[in-house]
Amino acid sequence: MQTFTYYPGCTLRTKAKDLDAYARSSAEALGIALVEPENWQCCGGAYTTATNEPATKLSAVRTLMSAKDSEGLVTVCSACHNVIKQTNYDISRNQAMANKVKLYLGLDEAYTGETTVYHYLELLRDVVGFDNLKSKVIKPFKDKKIAAYYGCLLLRPSKALAMDDPENPSIMEDFIRAIGGTPVIYAQRNECCGGYITMEDKEQAHKRSNAVMDSAQSMGADMIITACPLCLYNLKKNSGSDMPVYYFTELLAEALGLKEVANE
């Protein structure tokens, strides 16, 4: 069994408990041990990438360092993943910043990006393998047309995140095929869901999330999946559409026959 450090992040403890629970149970079934670091803190939020200030990077670096000795750091939430992976990318290319962070944290030696960061989807693709996953599916999503919604944080900036082609991604579609479903390609799959704008302009948030849901539904989708708690919120609460929205981990657990187990 391979052991990875698993970073859930704040939302997975509150609003997105499903995303977390299904991720854990599925990993176990797939032979991956996810170990949560003790006393983990905030991923660093949106601040890390906005400025050169070392203080904003500390939280992400602390998380990255906690996984230094494991096979890698696994994240699920799109936002956490984006922040942590970008910080890892930046610090591996900026020795001066690495040194400043070292001084702030009082480290013996600077952290320079040694940890490999995996999004849970990358774990499925690169460690488990989609073919392998397919062979373990018990309840395939036969005849289900599933639309993958990437949102903005999962793929961009593409150089730092290096997950997939930002304009023509395939990782979630390949995942859908692995669990027996039929992926639906639609124009809005990597456009914005409205993001935090829901806090101050409901109308804009509605316009954006509705465009996504409309685009997917018009292409024949039965349901839509995402990796991001904020996307899920916008698509569910602001779009006005009644098409079901799920976390990808929920479908994964269901396909692996674990959904009831996780709900207990």
Binding site: D165, E167, I185, S215, Q217, S218
Partner: protein
């Protein structure tokens, strides 16, 4: 004892205004071996040259230094002058005190000092110069043209016109290239096929031209005037000499679901096929990836219906070897793949097409017989959006940094043709800039805007979203009115960037020619030698050298032909004597020089040597082919034992120059 003459040129005021030429002449007169040192207003003029010639005779000079402009400019002039006075031309050295001194400096005192130092270096070198004699090598009077598009055809026709044999090697089953796929040509709107196919036929009928279709160059050996080329004639499973092109096999072939390359995959062809009606040679080809007989051994229909027995399922690739004096590269271009541009929905929306696909959709011989219909539901499109610069002028890693040059004009052509034929169709063109330099080009574009009311909008399309009702939402910005636009379109046409054909890079390696970072062949000089490659005897024709429209391609094709004819006219060519040679006694056979030689001029031979103790030993030593060597000097630097040296630029000469500069 050397007797050297120094001649310092004023170049009018070009040099004399910044360099004290008299002081230079005076200073150099004290250098070792210098017997005469003069200055003159224009050394390259007839009287200036006479000055040199007379001095050579009068003072019995053994070496000449001219302090003047770049050797690229007048080295040849002064070498000729010296030769006419009886001095070996390779005993003349140029000190460049114009481009490398007077033009780039302002201070007279320091410029003069620098000119003196450059002069001293040249004197130090000429002291060690030895007379060199250029060798000769014979020229095979036959040319090879690689690529049978309009560029290759034009080059071949021109070379044949001059009376030389010329072979065209084309990798597709027919010549014609991209131009054969185009519907109309700008700015005159004449039909491309009507002007191209007569040329294809002319090439086929010309007694001097041999067309190797469905063939590729697989190896190139030799050098200018004497190339040996291996041509792979790919198995087409049809005997070219027997096939009459009747087309019966293509009608009867049961395998009818093969994407038709000629129509950009917009319809299907059969497994045995003739690419298009005017193909040259008009010979069928069997596609082994789809042919049921070749795949499963079951079918054989084409063989049964062929009345002349041309079908040959057992045919294999054949290799032929041929000698050529000159090679012309005309490998052309392709539109780029659009995988990285899925914001335009190209990969999953059939009504988003490239411009070349639109050419086929509008062509009378295309999938819809010339009626413009949407590929998805075969309905007439009422709103069409053109997006320019898709993949061109990109500053990121996705596309090409360069302008593809032809898109502005063909997009204007498409827009105009659609408005002409279907006046009820609204046409929008999104552009960054409209670039129309060329004869009658801007007038053409203005006509599209003013006469045909095509909506030109400055701005780029951000997102193309196919909708459930079959319409396409095109989201774009209008930069002039600073507005977000949503256009409800029926079709979107992407003016896709063009790139060199994929076959170009391996070919460049075989030919030892240079390419730029975009895989376009590099010309020998961007202004003065635009159709020659840096490798002697290799010429460039058409879009393999850079994006070009048809008139420019044809002009360059003829220019390349003229250069090739110039070479083929000679019975032998004078070789550059400034080539490398190996001191076999010092060579240890390590292959370092062979590895760095970009021209393949160095080979290794086992030679018998007499050893000091009167025995003989076989040693592996380097040997340079002087006809292939371009005198770049890479081997002399790479050689660890100092056995490689360059005539005219020997290690000792270069060290003497360095010493003179540092003294």
């Amino acid at each position: 004892m050397q007797r050297i003459g120094v001649f310092v040129c004023h170049c009018g005021t070009n040099i004399a205004a910044t360099v004290d030429v008299k002081a230079v002449a005076e200073a150099l007169s004290h250098e070792q071996g210098v017997v005469i040192s003069q200055d003159y207003q224009y050394m390259c003029s007839e009287s200036g040259q006479d000055l040199i010639k007379n001095a050579v005779k009068e003072h019995k000079l053994t070496g000449v230094v001219v302090c003047s402009c770049s050797p690229r400019m007048h080295e040849n002039t002064f070498r000729k002058a010296a030769a006419s006075a009886g001095l070996n031309p390779y005993l003349v050295e140029i000190a460049n005190i114009r481009e490398q001194c007077s033009w780039i400096h302002k201070d007279i005192a320091s410029a003069t000092d620098k000119a003196i130092i450059l002069g001293k270096a040249a004197v130090a070198k000429v002291n060690l110069n030895t007379p060199l004699t250029a060798g000769e090598s014979p020229v095979v009077k036959r040319a090879l043209v690689i690529g049978g598009g309009i560029a290759g055809i034009q080059t071949a026709l021109d070379i044949a016109e001059a009376g030389f044999d010329v072979d065209i090697v084309e990798k597709e089953p027919t010549i014609g290239g991209k131009m054969a796929q185009i519907d109309k040509t700008f700015p005159t709107l004449d039909c491309a096929a009507c002007i191209l196919t007569p040329k294809m036929v002319e090439a086929a009928q010309n007694e001097h031209i041999t067309i190797h279709s469905f063939s590729e160059v697989s190896a190139v050996k030799g050098f200018v005037g004497n190339f040996t080329v291996t041509i792979k004639k790919k198995a087409r499973f049809v005997d070219e000499t027997k096939c009459t092109g009747c087309g019966l096999c293509t009608e009867k072939c049961p395998m009818k679901k093969v994407p038709n390359e000629f129509n950009m995959g917009l319809d299907n062809r059969t497994a045995v096929y003739i690419p298009f009606a005017q193909a040259v040679p008009k010979v069928a080809t069997i596609d082994p990836n789809y042919c049921l007989m070749l795949k499963n051994g079951k079918c054989g229909v084409c063989s049964k219906v062929c009345s002349v027995g041309a079908i040959d399922y057992k045919q294999t690739d054949k290799f032929i070897e041929q000698k050529y004096g000159a090679i012309v590269v005309a490998t052309g271009f392709n539109p780029i793949k659009l995988d990285k541009y899925d914001e335009f929905a190209y990969s999953y929306c059939p009504d988003v097409v490239t411009s070349l696909e639109l050419e086929r959709l509008m062509n009378a011989a295309g999938p819809n017989g010339g009626t413009l219909l949407r590929p998805s539901d075969k309905t007439h499109p009422h709103t069409i959006v053109f997006v320019q610069c898709v993949g061109s002028r990109c500053d990121d890693s996705k596309g090409k940094q360069y302008c593809s040059k032809i898109c502005c004009m063909y997009t204007a052509k498409h827009a105009m043709l659609i408005r002409e034929k279907y006046p009820d169709t609204e046409v929008y063109v999104f552009y960054i800039d409209v670039r129309t330099p060329g004869k009658n080009f801007d007038e053409f574009y203005r006509r599209a805007v003013e006469q045909y009311n095509v909506h030109y909008i400055k701005g780029m399309v951000g997102k193309v979203s196919p909708k459930a009702d079959g319409k396409i939402d095109v989201q774009a910005s209008d930069l002039l009115s600073n507005e977000q636009l949503h256009i409800n379109a029926d079709m979107v046409v992407l003016a896709t960037a063009i790139e060199p054909d994929k076959s170009a890079r391996p070919l460049a390696t075989m030919l030892t020619t240079q390419m730029d970072t975009n895989d376009f062949f590099t010309e020998a000089h961007p202004k003065l030698r635009p159709v020659e490659s840096a490798t002697a005897g290799i010429f460039l024709s058409g879009a393999c050298q850079g994006p070009k429209d048809i008139p420019e391609t044809v002009a360059q094709a003829s220019a390349a032909a003229a250069k090739a004819i110039g070479l083929l006219c000679k019975n032998s060519i004078t070789c550059n004597p400034c080539v490398a040679h190996s001191n076999e006694l010092m060579c240890n056979g390590c292959s370092a020089c062979e590895k760095v030689c970009p021209y393949g001029a160095i080979t290794y031979q086992d030679k018998e040597f007499r050893m000091p103790d009167r025995t003989t030993a076989i040693r592996r030593v380097a040997s340079v082919n002087p006809a292939v060597c371009q005198g770049c000097g890479a081997c002399t630097v790479a050689c660890p034992s100092g056995a490689m040296d360059l005539n005219g630029f020997s290690n000792s000469q270069i060290m003497a120059e360095v010493d003179a500069i540092c003294k």
